[in-house]
Each structure stands twice: as structure tokens, then as C-alpha cells.
């Protein structure tokens, strides 16, 4: 399968990416690792007229300690997250979830920013960043703005990022190495999650997020509130499907996904609360 023809622009700086996006509007797409975009283009589900290759912006690949939080460059590859000692010590949950993305080959190419901007509810990292109350830093023609992860994922493959903006950085709180569990259920090792459940202890309490239980990654306030009210893992997890809109497909019915959500949230809570 060959993508539809496009013009290729290799950007040398974030500003060049933004300039190309301003010039070409929604005719253009930004290429990072390409692990989500290129398959869509090969299937002709995406046919951008202009592809702006941002992958050479190596200055957007980093994990930094910024005191209060960690800052992660948008073009940091899953592999670099997986092997980051800083991330392992200060936000172990994100290192662990990055290690669950796709397979080695995918993690050698795919980037955290690409995963966030693609906005796929079946992706692992967006749900983790939602649970962590991450902040996304976007650069556009009028400068830089910060967006909260809550409210960023608007719909299926739809985010609050404007068509002329480039995601440049992701900021996450320091949650330490442990106190988290990610339960990913799938049929083949490398597949997308049929359902995924993440629990992570933060300063503000235990956060619970779900993968592939709706049009966007989801937090589950009913479970979080039950924990605040003193419920144990099993009782809290019984609320895991509340407020979700599970999709139905060849892999699983909506009812089965709801069942999986309750089971996986229970396991995630049991392991993260230890």
C-alpha cells in the first residue's frame, strides 16, 4: 500500500513547522515517528497534501527535571522514555506505560508527542497523561500556550490542538518510581489494548484512567471518589464502567469491555495500592 502523493517539507525548527502549518492550513499534517500517521496514509484514510517532517528536531527530544515537575520533549521516542533513569525514578508510571506501547520496532520510532496529538482512545500514553494531569505545551503563530490534559481529548482522534499548532512539550508531576499499575488486555502481544486500566497514586489521591472505553481516553471519577470514601479495590472497581461509552467491534462487545474495565481496574488498584 502506497500513500497518496504529497509534498514533503523537512522542518529545521519548531518555528518552521508552525510556519508550514500556517501556510498550508489543514492540508498539512506533521510527521513525527509516523507510527500512527503513516498507516493511516497507506490506507488512504489520511491524505494530507503536505507532510511536514518534524522528526529531525532533536532539541525536542529530552526528559528534564524542572524541580516541581518533569518536562518531556514532544519528540522523545517511546524507547527513550522506556530507558530513562530519570523517568524511572521520578515518574515510573510513564516509563512503564511507554514500555507497553506496540513492540520494539514501534518504540524505536514512535514519539510521545505523536501519540498524544493522534488522540487515539486505544493508545496507552494519552490515558496515562490524563491520569497524571499532564500539561501540554503548544507552539503556534502567536507564541506558546499551555493546555491541561483534562479537556485536551475532545473526540475520536480529535484534540484541542489548533491546526497551526505544534505540541512541543509535556509536563508531568513527580510521582516516584512506584505506586502504579497498568493492566493492558489484548489478544496478541503487540496489539492495541482491547481495554486498558491504569491506576496511579498521586499527591491528590489515586487516579484511574481507561484505554479504549469511549471516544477519548477517560478518567473514572466514580472509582476515584469511591476510594476517597474509603472503598476497597473490589468495591471501587465495581464503578469502573460508569460514565464510559465502550465501543463494540470484532474483538469485544460493549458489555464485555465493561466487564473487562471492572476486572482490570480492580487488578490495577490492588497492585498500585500495595
Amino acid at each position: 500500500m502506497i500513500p497518496a502523493a504529497f509534498d514533503y517539507v523537512r522542518a529545521a525548527s519548531a518555528d518552521e513547522v508552525v510556519a508550514a502549518l500556517v501556510e498550508h492550513g489543514d492540508e498539512a499534517k506533521v510527521l513525527a515517528g509516523g507510527m500512527s500517521l503513516l498507516p493511516l496514509m497507506k490506507l488512504r484514510l489520511a491524505t494530507p497534501a503536505v507532510l511536514v517532517d518534524a522528526a529531525r528536531l532533536t532539541d525536542l527530544s529530552y526528559v528534564r527535571d524542572e524541580g516541581e515537575h518533569l518536562a518531556i520533549g514532544a519528540l522523545t521516542r517511546h524507547r527513550d522514555l522506556e530507558t530513562s533513569e530519570l523517568l524511572s525514578a521520578q515518574c515510573g508510571v510513564l516509563r512503564g506505560v511507554a514500555a507497553e506501547v506496540g513492540d520494539n520496532q514501534v518504540r524505536h520510532r514512535g514519539t510521545i508527542g505523536g501519540s498524544v496529538v493522534h488522540g487515539d482512545p486505544a493508545s496507552d500514553l494519552p490515558a496515562a497523561l490524563l491520569a497524571l494531569d499532564a500539561t501540554f505545551v503548544a507552539r503556534g503563530p502567536n507564541g506558546t500556550r499551555e493546555l491541561d490534559a483534562t479537556g485536551f481529548f475532545l473526540g475520536f482522534l480529535e484534540t484541542a490542538l489548533a491546526p497551526d499548532e505544534l505540541l512541543v512539550e509535556i509536563r508531568v508531576p513527580k510521582t516516584g518510581p512506584d505506586g502504579w499499575s497498568y493492566q493492558k488486555f489484548n489478544r496478541r502481544a503487540q496489539d492495541w489494548a482491547i481495554v486498558g486500566a491504569l491506576a496511579v497514586r498521586t499527591e491528590g489521591g489515586t487516579r484511574v484512567a481507561l484505554v479504549n472505553m469511549g471516544a477519548t481516553p477517560l478518567r473514572v471519577p466514580a472509582v476515584e471518589q469511591a476510594l476517597v470514601d474509603g472503598a476497597g479495590a473490589e468495591e471501587a472497581a465495581s464503578h469502573a464502567a460508569e460514565g464510559t461509552e465502550a465501543p463494540a467491534d470484532l474483538n469485544a462487545s460493549a458489555t464485555f469491555r465493561e466487564h473487562l474495565a471492572r476486572v482490570l481496574v480492580r487488578r490495577a488498584l490492588e497492585q498500585s495500592l500495595v
Partner: protein
């Protein structure tokens, strides 16, 4: 009935859009071509470089048959543009060892019968080479997880895993 070699590139219309001039070190040889931006790395390797050891399997980055090394790391060449490899170093199965010599991973696949039909083998070997670069002394679990991106429909994986462990010297 067939009339010789038919290039895949003749099966879709040439774009009128501008081409990209790319230079890639392929198996230690400097290759320079003018390609359409939409040219996939696997298509470039097979057609422009005439290195057909790299296979197209699923064409959807699931099966790993097209795995090659870019700057020493395994990637699925069906899901990478040739233009993205511009200025980088690519190693295919043909470039693992000089001449008729076998790379230790290739030799281990022969010794341990790590293949049946052979279609997944090039990708499997390349993925294993990359894995051993990252984890020189893997456990069996490391090997199984490390090769999760490569599918083999013949072997049941047992001999492949044994071959990789043998190549690592940790059998």
C-alpha cells in the same frame, strides 16, 4: 505467461509532485536516489537498491517481516518513508555479514532450525540482532517479548527463541 520482472512502481501512477534527493548508507554502501516523497523505505530498498532480502508481509506494521536496522535499531520499513532515512545508516539482511559469511544470529538460526518457510526470517533475524544489541544476555522472556513485533506462522517460535538464546551465548 509472465514477462519478466515487474516493478511495483509501475503499478501506481507517478505523482506530479516534486521528488526528494536522498542519500542513505545502505549496508556500508552510499546510495543516492531521487525518490517520490511517498516512497516507503522497504520499497526503496527492494526496488531502488535491489535488495530483496527484506520482505513485505502484512504491510501494516504488524508482522515484522520488513524489519531492518536504521542507525542500528530495528524498525519496520513498511511504515517508514525512505525520506525519513535520508542521511542515516540502514542495514538489511544482506549487509549483516560480509560475502558468504553468516552473522552469529544467522548461523544460530541455521543450527537451531529457526525457520520453516523462511518468509519471516530476514525480519526475525534483524529484530533479534537489534534486541541483542540492547540486551546482550537476555532471558527467554526477554527474547519472547523482544520479538513480539515479529510473527512466524510456521514454527511456533520455540526454535527461533532457542536460536536467539544460542546466539547470545546464554542457552
Amino acid at each position: 505467461m509472465g514477462s519478466g520482472r515487474k516493478h511495483l512502481s509501475s503499478t501506481y501512477p507517478k505523482s506530479t509532485r516534486s521528488t526528494v534527493d536522498i542519500s542513505i548508507d545502505v549496508n556500508g554502501r552510499s546510495e543516492r536516489h531521487d525518490v517520490e516523497p511517498r516512497t516507503l523505505l522497504v520499497q526503496y530498498l527492494r526496488e531502488s537498491c535491489e535488495l530483496t532480502g527484506t520482505k513485505v508481509g502484512c504491510d501494516t506494521s504488524s508482522c515484522g517481516a520488513c524489519t531492518v536496522l536504521v542507525d542500528g535499531e530495528s524498525v519496520k520499513s513498511c511504515t517508514m518513508l525512505a525520506a525519513q532515512a535520508d542521511g542515516r545508516s540502514v542495514t538489511t539482511i544482506e549487509g549483516l555479514a560480509p560475502g558468504d559469511a553468516l552473522h552469529p544470529v544467522q548461523a544460530a538460526f541455521v543450527e537451531h532450525h529457526g525457520l520453516q518457510c523462511g518468509f519471516c526470517t530476514a525480519g526475525m533475524v534483524m529484530a533479534a540482532v537489534s534486541l541483542l544489541e540492547e540486551i546482550p544476555s537476555p532471558t527467554e522472556d526477554d527474547v519472547r517479548m523482544g520479538l513480539e513485533g515479529n510473527l512466524c506462522r510456521c514454527t511456533g517460535y520455540h526454535n527461533i527463541v532457542q536460536a536467539v538464546l544460542a546466539a547470545a551465548g546464554t542457552e
